[in-house]
Symmetry: C2
Subunit: 121 residues, 2 copies
């Protein structure tokens, strides 16, 4: 069974995660047969490994990670591959893979442009 | 004349800004009569004040700032209002205002959900 993780940076202020909680709700409403979990790089729980463990407990054999980051800087280019390799070592029987950062998706960039245009009117 | 700023966090790795440069191109293609500038909170140039100065030089009398952040944590709740007040003091004749963070927009959250769903297939 395939599962998905929305993976964000994390922050000290708990309210930072509100859009992530809204995305979790949207995912579960729209894709109820594909288990999803949130995970955070730092400062918030669960970690990526904890999120994968939860999905594996729920029956996942394959986990696709969506990095909810705009840019691909040090976190995604340096920290994330190490973290991914650690997780793969912890869960050798699970197929773990990662999508590009959401900032690479032209539809998401267009949605930001459209938001900006609406904010001017 | 109204102008817009796409305001991001910034990062050490110059490649982090690539989605911002793509958004700048999209904006200029789609909204050529509304001047836009990128600006960054830290680690990248220009600063918010520098970006506003450039837009004012280009004739802007009103600047709407779009915070390209998912979550509203310490940066947006604490640092940003101070920065905004500093900028308003520097440019008293310019109407400066800020939109909510892009992570507050349901269309953008939906675009992320749709990206995740496409990444599973």
């Amino acid at each position: 069974m395939q599962a998905i993780i929305l993976f964000g940076h994390g922050a000290r202020d708990i309210r930072w995660r509100e859009p992530f909680d809204r995305m979790a709700t949207l995912w579960r409403e729209q894709h109820p047969t594909t288990p999803m979990a949130l995970a955070f790089l730092e400062l918030m729980q669960p970690s990526l490994a904890e999120a994968i463990a939860g999905l594996v407990d729920a029956g996942a054999t394959s986990v696709r990670i969506i990095p909810v980051f705009f840019g691909q800087g040090g976190h995604l280019r340096n920290d994330f591959p190490v973290l991914l390799a650690d997780c793969q070592a912890k869960f050798p029987d699970v197929q773990i893979s990662a999508a590009p950062a959401v900032g690479e998706d032209p539809h998401i960039l267009q949605a930001i442009i459209d938001f900006g245009a609406r904010e001017l009117t």
